[in-house]
């Protein structure tokens, strides 16, 4: 571990006391020449600290106990948690531009402070299959082009985006997950595997003290860091009023770009992005290239997610061809296929199994079937 200066110690000391309250931190810091001075002043009983609320002054006295900071630093080292702050070399440049940039940012993994382009991918925790597919595809293509993908490691769109970024083979990509809890806390627990992969190939960051639980009110605070770390925020699927709209709002306030992937009207999960597009709050993007086009510093063409195989319908047996033609217009349930095709159920079942095996059709929950557009492109002849 690197050498910790007295100034840094004083910063951790004050950060421990005020927690994520950046304004309070800055107000106190502004009264003194340096943070080390502030700590000294507290120890000599300076009047500045007497006006603080009970909770903060309690934490201040706790942090000032002899040996406390040393133990705190030991714990960070044990858990391999690093920290950075505005002005330090690892602190994200974009984040430092904010007036309320976190006074200390804890992280695990390796941070890339100044990426050419970074995009935050945000969206619902209960997306549709279309949503997760889209998020994954966009994140993969953007990461391939060298974009840093920022996500929140929640379930749904966030996790899908992080997975997409991790699938990218190029090592220059790193992905960052901004947590609403301490960096050593895995929330939700189901993302444990993803968490480990992100720490290995990118970084998880948080302004909350290590060990903090994921409290509800943390997430809106966290969201400003997500948008603040990114040049642009990409909204994939979200309900009308949701955490996603808060993040997009932060991006606006911070003067960053907002992109949205349009969805079907009437779908609950498309109401968020479609609403933003209708109100002119976001730029519509239909492909990863549309995002890249905004940032001319990048010329590398976005590569296709996976090499999709071109399947010509005329090579398929008749039943399979009919099924594919129907599914081309969107997913259908088994019953709907049955109704539309007028072939016995036995052969239809068999035909679907074969289409699944050739990778053309995928089965979705609820006995729905859809063309696997990631793997195949259908052509009439």
């Amino acid at each position: 571990m690197r050498k910790i200066t007295d100034e840094e110690k004083a910063r951790l000391w004050l950060n421990y006391a005020v927690e994520y309250n950046v304004r309070l931190f800055n107000r106190i810091a502004a009264r003194f020449d340096s943070l080390a001075c502030a700590k000294e002043a507290y120890e000599t009983g300076d009047g500045t600290f007497s006006e603080l609320s009970g909770r903060v002054s309690g934490r201040l006295s706790e942090a000032s106990k002899p040996g406390f900071l040393e133990r705190f630093l030991d714990r960070l080292e044990q858990k391999q948690i690093d920290f950075t702050y505005p002005g330090e070399k690892n602190y994200p440049v974009l984040l430092a531009q904010l007036s309320d940039a976190p006074s200390v940012l804890y992280y695990k993994g390796a941070l890339e402070p100044d990426p050419d382009v970074s995009i935050a991918v945000v969206g619902s925790r209960h997306p549709t299959t279309y949503g997760t597919d889209t998020a994954r595809r966009f994140a993969f293509s953007l990461a391939e082009a060298g974009v840093l993908i920022v996500s929140g490691m929640a379930e749904g769109i966030d996790a899908a985006a992080a997975r997409g970024a991790l699938e990218s083979a190029t090592n220059r990509c790193r992905t960052v997950a901004v947590l609403g809890c301490g960096v050593d806390v895995i929330y939700p627990a189901s993302n444990a595997k993803l968490y480990r992969e992100i720490v290995e190939r990118g970084a998880v960051v948080s302004e909350f003290l290590p060990g903090s639980r994921a409290d509800r009110f943390h997430f809106p605070i966290r969201n400003r860091v997500m948008s603040g770390m990114a040049h642009g925020t990409l909204v994939v699927e979200a309900a009308q009023r949701s955490g996603t709209s808060i993040t997009a709002g932060w991006a606006h306030d911070q003067g960053r770009d907002v992109f949205a992937v349009p969805g079907r009207i009437g779908d609950a999960m498309s109401a968020g992005p479609n609403g933003m597009l209708a109100r002119g709050e976001a730029k519509a993007v239909l492909s990863p290239e549309d995002v890249l086009g905004e940032y001319s510093c990048l010329h590398a063409p976005a590569e296709a997610y996976l090499e999709a195989e071109v399947v010509s319908l005329s090579t398929l047996p008749e039943t399979q061809r009919d099924v594919c033609r129907l599914l081309k217009h969107g997913e259908l349930s088994f019953d709907e296929l049955c109704e539309a095709l007028d072939i016995p159920i036995g052969p239809l079942n068999a035909c679907l199994t074969e289409l699944q095996f050739s990778g053309i059709v995928q089965a979705l929950p609820g006995r729905l079937y859809a063309i696997d557009t990631d793997r195949v492109v259908l052509k009439e002849n």
Binding site: T129, M269, F334, E336, I345, Q356, F357, L364
Partner: protein, 508 residues
Amino acid sequence: MLSRVKSHGLSGIGGFGVQVETDIANGLPAFEIVGLPDAAVRESRERVRAAIKNAGYIFPAARITVNLAPADMRKEGAVYDLPVALSILGASGQLGVDPKLDFVAFGELGLDGSVRAIAGVLPMVIDAFSGGETVFAVPEGNAGEAACVEGVSVLPVDSLAGICAHIRGERRIVPRPTEPWQGGETRYATDFCEIKGQQGAKRAAEIAVAGGHNILLIGTPGAGKTMLARAIPSILPRLTYEEALEITKIHSITGATKGTGMIRERPFRAPHHGASSAALVGGGTRAMPGEISLAHYGVLFLDELPEFRHNVLEALRQPLEDGFITVSRAAASATYPAEFVLVAAMNPCPCGNYGSRIHECRCTRTQIERYRGRISGPLLDRIDIQIEMPEVGFAELSEKSGGEASAAIRERVEKARAIQRRRFSNDGILLNAQMNTKLIKQYCSPDKDAEKLLRRAYAELKLSARAYQRILKVARTIADVEGEEQISLSHYAEAIQYRSLDRSGKDA
């Protein structure tokens, strides 16, 4: 003076002959019943005393001893009221000189001398009939079920006075004619043609019934799982006389057949998910049959399968395998048959909307996994067919015709079952679902192409190893339903579609 009346006792669905002997001696007036009577039998003293008096006879003021032989078997219930009363009247000479008591009698007495229906008449009649008895005096309310045994003469008894008049030759009771078997019921409350849409699930149900496979229906609320399950008895083969007799026997023990005759419909039992394991497999101090035995030769429907208590579901495993259940209690032990088609239903997730296109699912992945994990692997192993039922749209509900009627499907099922009977004539089983590993190897060894297909199923759909044999069995049944000797590639391909739960790991 001594008199004897024949009666019968019940243990499980079998029975034992009982002799009711009465001795009237001089001494202080007393009335004792000996021979392991339970509380209900001992109480019969009061009923008998009042009934004799109110039927216009005299209760002898002497020392009366009634013995229920054999003395080492426990006698239960109010079955012996009637024989005890007749025996006392006989012993006191009120039925004439040397009365003809050559019938087997059961029945509960009312204080006014009327005779009330009891539970368990049919199994007792069958048991006594096989022991050589042919004439039975049974309560009028039980005459219907007793008369379905061919060859017996049933005297329906409405009151103590009535049977006494019969014995004394004053007014003969006309024996109830035995009801000739008219074949199993063909019309059920719910018919397949009433179910709109769900062609895929209906086909799966047909295959399940044809091969005796258990089936699990997975679908959003309102997809029609319960309705489909209710219609399944209507596509089971028509009941034979032997099957109907066995069903009626079991239901008779619980007293469900009072006042009715032979059961001619396949039973449909749908216990609530709060049921205890004793309620499901049988129990109680008298080792009574549970829901699985009441569903014998019919359908046991477990709605909301994951909501059933763990130990309850585990208790199902052994009878699912063996087709019978032995209920052992301190006081009694009984073996009941339990051959049924298990139809289970569940939502795809705790909120029920997973996979729905109309409603949003609010469950997390962990919640869904935990919900599905409540059904243990060994139980799932015994369910060959798992099918997802898509939600039914408004258009389907309003426009579509229901499709085939149950009668047409039943015909195919009966044909497929006949093929299986022929095939297994030397193997001691009747249905494809009962095949063991050896028989599977013998009757459904996949050829090279099918082997390739199944191997791809492993890789592509991430099927589990235990799904393999299920697919082979189901493919065999599909071929039987289609009337084909060889299992073709498309039969295997269709069978693979019936493994919904094995597959669901993929879309996480």
